[in-house]
């Protein structure tokens, strides 16, 4: 018996550098669940094609049961091409790189367009410390749930008289209620203990007041989950001093953008946080925060974009498609690459190319 277990012992000892492979996925798939699923892929602009290509390579290496229908969309198009929207409606899931939005130009953001078109009313980003990332704050584990369709991004602006411009911020009970519902449901499903609503209702009494009212109503239906409210400026101050007090945060559109970016920054950077947009029928996965940030020319030319955020978002997508084992393997591989710290892209002060990171991830997949 000792002789039979010796090779096992040696094998286990030689793997002490890697985390224990004791994860077991216990679920019973239905026959036919392994059929490859179609996912719409939009490479996008700037670093988009680079990082979506990274995802394609990794999926290929894992033999994951997904295949991509690629569509070219660029930020300077006036409207989202109908065939792309058709494809997403058919496949229900999409993976997307960023689309450039010209600043102050006449074209409104296509990223925002898509969210409204498909009614992807919740944007989710998971900001968590990962071993290997240089950080100042410990114990960061925040999920920001952001209302994605209305608020300040309603896009309703006009010039009243020359030199005076108005922008409408619209808050409705319907949207506030459903985002609050999503946030609490997420907390419930993921064993999260607290939901914090972020607002500025002391100044915008009616608008944010309505948002808070909806959150409070939903909170009553989830008595096991703690609920509190915080004003957005205090929230940012607390995020940089004591981020461990936050768990799930639910916010209207604009504050969500700021809070998510701040939380991503303190957890290690927007290049690492997974996230996406989800609605009742469709899900679009993209870089968690700053999805519209398509990098600068230098990074594109040198091919040194950071693919980690999109890789982790694609892991989220695999779970969404009910392929948990592939998702786990991908996340573990990425985690190992970051923890090792040998392949650092520009945003971490290193010099690796996207391809080097991809190769490292593929090498680390069990």
């Amino acid at each position: 018996m000792a002789r039979r277990s010796l090779p096992n012992l040696i094998k286990r000892l030689s793997l002490t550098a890697a985390p224990p492979r004791s994860r077991t996925i216990t679920y019973m798939p239905r026959p036919g669940d392994g059929t490859p699923r179609a996912v719409t892929l939009i490479p996008g602009d700037g670093i988009g094609p680079l990082v979506t290509n990274a995802v394609e390579q990794v999926m290929e290496a894992m033999h994951a049961p997904v295949y991509f229908e690629r569509y070219e969309v660029h930020g300077n198009m006036k409207v989202f091409p109908a065939e792309v929207v058709e494809s997403i409606r058919r496949n229900k899931v999409c993976l997307k790189g960023g689309l450039i939005t010209p600043v102050g130009g006449g074209v409104s953001s296509l990223n925002v367009h898509l969210r409204k078109e498909l009614d992807l009313y919740a944007a989710l980003v998971n900001c968590r410390n990962m071993p290997g990332l240089p950080i100042r704050h410990e114990k960061v584990d925040i999920v920001v749930v952001r209302e994605n369709t209305e608020g300040e991004y309603a896009g309703l602006e006009h010039e009243v008289v020359p030199g005076v411009v108005e922008s409408l911020k619209v808050i409705t009970k319907h949207c506030s209620e459903r985002i609050a519902e999503y946030a609490f449901e997420y907390a419930y499903l993921n064993n999260r203990k607290k939901v914090t609503a972020v607002h500025k209702a002391n100044i915008m009494k009616l608008a944010d007041g309505l948002f808070l009212e909806s959150c409070r109503e939903v909170a009553e239906r989830y008595p096991a989950i703690a609920y509190n409210e915080i004003i957005v400026d205090n929230c940012c101050m607390q995020l940089v001093s004591r981020p461990e007090q936050f768990d799930v945060m639910v916010t209207p559109n604009l504050y969500g953008n700021l809070v998510a970016n701040t939380a991503a920054g303190i957890a290690g950077g927007t290049g690492f946080m997974p996230g996406g947009n989800v609605g009742a029928d469709y899900a679009v996965f993209e870089q968690g925060t700053s999805a519209g940030n398509v990098g600068n020319d230098k990074i594109i030319a040198e091919k040194k974009a950071n693919p980690v955020a999109l890789l982790l978002s694609s892991a989220m997508m695999l779970r969404h498609l009910q392929f948990p084992s592939f998702a786990d393997r991908l996340e573990t591989a990425v985690g190992r690459v970051i923890a090792e710290g040998k392949c650092l892209t520009k945003d971490l002060g290193g010099d690796s190319t996207t391809q080097q990171v991809v190769d490292a991830v593929i090498a680390n997949i069990d």
């Binding site: 939005t101 010209p102 600043v103 102050g104 130009g105 006449g106 409104s108 953001s109 100042r136 704050h137 300040e152 991004y153 896009g155 602006e157 006009h158 010039e159 020359p162 030199g163 005076v164 411009v165 108005e166 922008s167 409408l168 911020k169 619209v170 808050i171 409705t172 009970k173 319907h174 500025k200 100044i203 915008m204 009494k205 009616l206 608008a207 007041g209 309505l210 957005v232 400026d233 940012c236 101050m237 607390q238 995020l239 940089v240 001093s241 604009l254 953008n257 700021l258 998510a260 970016n261 701040t262 991503a264 920054g265 303190i266 950077g269 927007t270 925060t289 700053s290 519209g292 940030n293």
Partner: protein
């Protein structure tokens, strides 16, 4: 504008010359006559920290005479608030003021105190210098930036209404006039304080017309100051960069809402509102420095309060008055005292009383 300058020059007192290229600072070129400044001690810990400030300024021989005004106990019909007309006139006359924390009384029928001050004195820019205090360790050591926030319009115009049940609209207003005004101040400040870079923070990729107008105004002003680098940063990038590497920023100029959030974020980076100075600039060069923390009624009167925020606000007031050497003296004394670590108030982790802390600063002068 020229006529107003002429009128002001003709009616000004001999020891008060307003430099014509900018109507922002009151240059006390040849005054040895004391400058009168309005002081609002405020509520709660206000009076004690105001006393500490007065003591330190006296020790440092700052040529300021304080005119104290308190928040009244009944609503003044002329201002519709608890601040009397006399108080406001005093600030208008003296052009400088220092304000302690004021607790807004709950109830209706009156305007909030901060709103009254802002509207009546036309305070259009809020300036917050944020620098890491050597000796008070936070997670960030290299913060050295100024946030300049437009204070009158933007998202805080207070214009909201219910369209139908369950649908609310809130108006965000951006005007060319207000944006130009705050941009002018930002660049003037940068030049006057030897700052090299001004960053305009915006979300113009989404709010194209409103933030677009703000940016256009900033660009126009930037052209007049070619020696200062000007850049535009989208607010989500700005938040991220601030928490990762705050040394990247120098002077930030922003519309109202972003300014509120970013200035509080920066205050959080250096240790909180109890240590952050703040100064409000009004039309015609009025400067009202204030401590932005609360009135802390629970420790009022117990000699435990930390006067740092009010002191550093007083220092920014002195800089506005161009009394730079006095300002430097007091600022260095405060920073040295905190860095030394022997006398620190409770909120900084020490055990000293307000009076001990004040005395230590006086000794360091």
């Amino acid at each position: 504008m020229a006529f107003q300058l002429l009128r002001r020059a003709l009616t000004s007192r001999p020891d008060q010359i307003i430099s014509s290229p900018s109507a922002f600072s009151a240059v006390r070129a040849f005054s040895s006559a004391p400058i009168t400044a309005t002081l609002f001690p405020g509520d709660g810990i206000g009076p004690e920290i105001a006393e500490a400030v007065k003591q330190i300024f006296r020790e440092a021989e700052v040529p300021i005479e304080w005119e104290e005004h308190y928040v009244g106990t009944e609503v003044d019909p002329r201002t519709q608030s608890f601040l009397t007309w006399e108080s406001l006139e005093s600030v208008r006359r003296n052009r400088v003021g220092l304000k302690g924390p004021m607790a807004t009384p709950i109830g209706k029928g009156h305007r909030s105190l901060n709103l009254t001050l802002r509207k009546e004195l036309n305070l259009y820019a809020n300036v917050r210098p944020c620098y890491s205090l050597p000796g008070y360790k936070t997670l960030y050591d290299d913060v050295n930036l100024i946030t300049i926030r437009e204070n009158t319009e933007g998202e805080y115009s207070g214009l909201e209404h219910q369209v139908v049940r369950g649908v609310v609209e809130s108006l965000k207003i951006i005007t060319r006039q207000a944006s130009l005004r705050v941009a002018e101040y930002a660049f003037h400040y940068a030049k006057a304080h030897g700052r090299e870079r001004v960053s305009a923070i915006h979300k113009a990729n989404i709010m194209q017309k409103t933030d677009g107008l703000f940016l256009k105004c900033c660009r126009e002003v930037a052209e007049k100051y070619p020696e200062i680098t000007y850049e535009e940063v989208v607010i989500d990038n700005c938040c991220m960069m601030l928490v990762k590497n705050p040394a990247l920023f120098d002077v930030l100029v922003m519309p109202n809402l972003y300014g509120d959030i970013i200035s509080d974020l920066c205050a959080g980076l250096i240790g909180g509102l109890g240590l952050t100075p703040s100064c409000n600039i009004g039309e015609g060069g009025i400067a009202l420095a204030e401590a932005v923390h609360g009135s802390a009624p629970d420790i009022a009167g117990k000699n435990l309060a930390n006067p740092t925020a009010l002191l550093l606000s007083g220092v920014s007031m002195l800089r506005h008055l161009e009394l730079h050497d006095k300002a430097d003296r007091i600022q260095n004394a405060v920073l040295d005292t905190i860095a030394e670590g022997k006398y620190r108030t409770a909120d900084l982790g020490g055990k000293s009383t307000t009076s001990d802390f004040t005395k230590a600063i006086c000794d360091h002068l």
